[in-house]
């Protein structure tokens, strides 16, 4: 195996796949990265058996072949090579080490057996969603923050990918709040409910462009899901379990409705919650004519701020974990949001104004 390419090309590729290399594993081979030179490309693969990442890099191919190099050292070496230097990598057939040369530096690096490296499965079936890059990225961004962190209920540590009636939605909940983003479309009658580990989705998202127009091919089996771009492929395990029936907790009416500037509300909550209690940071929303008053207090003192809002409905006092509000307000990009309260102790809804594709439902806090 022999190839050469600019240092930056190899560096970028390693950066992408390295995120799937496990920090510790009972399988030593997984601490390596698979390098395969074939048909004008260098293919890099890394996996921890939950998530696998593959990239294809255009390189100067001199001899085809494959090998596995220790991820830690390979990345460290390439990172330190002089910028713009061409890198040449060579492994002799059956040889015990790889030669890596750039500028005036030479490395001989121990290799592991490529035969031992677990190959990423190719998921190419009929079950396929052609997602628009920017939409997929946005759906992940709008939901992934709401997953549960603890592992007591593993199915809540993932994001639900739901296909139904020609629509594709993502939903995530930690049981106190729920984020639902419905920005995908799908021809046909496919119905599917898949739970994707949030870490895998975040890796997908890292490789997508906010304004990108590329098509991401999403395909799946009952236990795995694949996200494919022209030179990148991610394969992730799916999480087993029954995601809660989230539709039934989305309120269909409200007692109070507010329209308020997203930016103003976000910074007001951030200012007020400085004085909120340590454990759960509670912010109280006091709905009045012509606006709301946000307040927070603790042993240290009390903070209060008025925020102008268009109010429809009755007066109400309702308290929230401030983080549950700031999380969603940070993720949205709209100018104004609609807040709908159904009662002091019942679900509240946050919606970006004029954008029916997104809903965030959050439960209040009961103070004693």
């Amino acid at each position: 195996m022999r190839f050469s390419c600019p240092r930056e090309v190899l560096y970028q590729g390693l950066q992408t796949v390295q995120r799937a290399v496990p920090s510790r594993s009972t399988m030593p081979i997984l601490s390596g990265i698979l390098l395969e030179v074939r048909q004008g490309f260098l293919r890099l693969v890394a996996t921890d058996l939950e998530l696998g990442i593959e990239v294809l890099l255009p390189v100067e191919v001199e001899a085809e072949g494959r090998t596995v190099l220790e991820a830690r050292y390979l990345s460290e070496i390439v990172r330190r090579l002089p910028e713009g230097a061409p890198v040449a990598v060579e492994v002799e057939e059956g040889g015990g080490s790889a030669q890596l040369k750039a500028a005036r530096v030479k490395y001989a690096l121990r290799v592991m057996s490529a035969e031992d490296y677990p190959e990423l499965p190719q998921l190419e079936g009929e079950r396929l969603w052609k997602a628009k890059e920017s939409d997929l990225r946005r759906m992940i961004r709008e939901t992934s923050f709401a997953v549960a962190v603890e592992e007591t209920r593993p199915f809540l540590t993932g994001v639900l990918l739901e296909m139904r009636g020609g629509e594709v939605a993502m939903a995530a909940t930690d049981t106190s709040r729920l984020a639902v983003s419905k920005r995908g479309t799908l021809p046909g009658e496919l119905e599917e409910r898949l739970i994707v580990p949030v870490r895998s989705l975040n890796e997908v998202s890292r490789n997508l462009d906010e304004e990108g127009e590329r098509e991401v091919l999403v395909s799946w089996t009952s236990s795995q899901i694949q996200f494919k771009l022209p030179s990148l492929r991610l394969v992730s395990r799916l999480i087993d379990g029954q995601f809660p029936n989230y539709q039934q907790v989305i309120p269909s009416n409200y007692a109070v409705r507010l329209e308020v500037s997203r930016g103003e509300l976000l910074s007001a909550i951030e200012r007020v919650s400085v004085l909120a209690q340590g454990g759960t940071s509670v912010v109280q929303v006091d709905v009045k004519d012509g606006g709301i008053v946000l307040s927070a207090e603790s042993e240290v003192g009390r903070a209060e701020e008025e925020v102008a809002a268009a109010v429809e409905g009755e007066a109400m006092e309702i308290s929230f974990n401030s983080r549950f509000l700031t999380d969603v307000l940070r993720v949205l990009e709209c100018g104004a949001v609609g807040l709908e309260f159904t009662g002091q102790y019942s679900p509240a809804v946050v919606k970006p104004l004029g954008d029916p594709a997104y809903q965030y439902i959050v439960m209040p806090i009961r103070l004693r």
């Binding site: 454990g279 102790y345 806090i365």
Partner: protein, 310 residues
Amino acid sequence: MVSTCSYEARRFGIRSAMPLSQAQRLCPHAIFLPVDLPHYVGVSRQLHALLQSFSPLVEQASLDEAYLDLTRVRDEYPSLRALGRAIQERIRKELALSASIGISFNKFAAKVASDLEKPGGLTVIEPADFARVVLPLPLERIPGVGERTAHRLRSLGARTIGDVKALPKQVLRSLFGRAGEEIYYLVRGLDLRPVKPEGQPRSVGHELTFPCDLQGEKELRQHLDAVVRVVAARLAEKGLQGRTVTLKARLAGFTSVTRRLTLDAPTSDRALLRQVAHRLLSRLPHSQPVRLLGVAVGELSSAQQLTLFP
């Protein structure tokens, strides 16, 4: 030993910490009562609850002393004196006790004020009156000044709070360190100590020690469930929820190990706590006999996060 005595008895020279025989000699017709701590604690709780109805910021300084932060309620009364009277009146009506109240702009001045007209007094010290009222008092009245500090101050010729005020900061600092600096500010009426309401407990927990070493996950789980039941009940009783769950186990040989997990949101839910406790149990060193199991729930909060799904 005399634990405490009424103002009437004090007139005969009886003091706290005096031997009973001496007290009897000083005042033969005095009535001696045994200490009934449970009763005092009960009344003290009632007093605390009563004070809390005036302001949520109540700091219990001892069984029969408390600081109240009245900043946010003073405007509801025509004057500070009227507010003090209202508190005194309620204590008299509901607990049949007389109380001395001092109202001022910080804790030090308020404490001094409350001591000025005992028993049953009500004294307000306005900031402008601080120097006139407080400075002539003996230096022992300064908070944090005990026997030894007082002795050293007296050896410098100081007798009153005013005398201490005349001492340079450097002298106080070199004599008493940081505490000296605090004294320097206190005697100038600068006391920034906030009224600290009684803190919530840091954690709620329960432990079970077994008569013999136990082994086997199944058996341990049963005992763990019993511990969790108690913890969940205590949380519910106090209206608290916690975000961290710590499992403590004492293994044979008296080594203790702990395992901890932090939840997304505070909980007092027994089923969830049980599930978490079981997970923590499985993380203990395997196949070791266990002598004690305990569960503690920390990062407590009284705010209850409601949930969308059961």
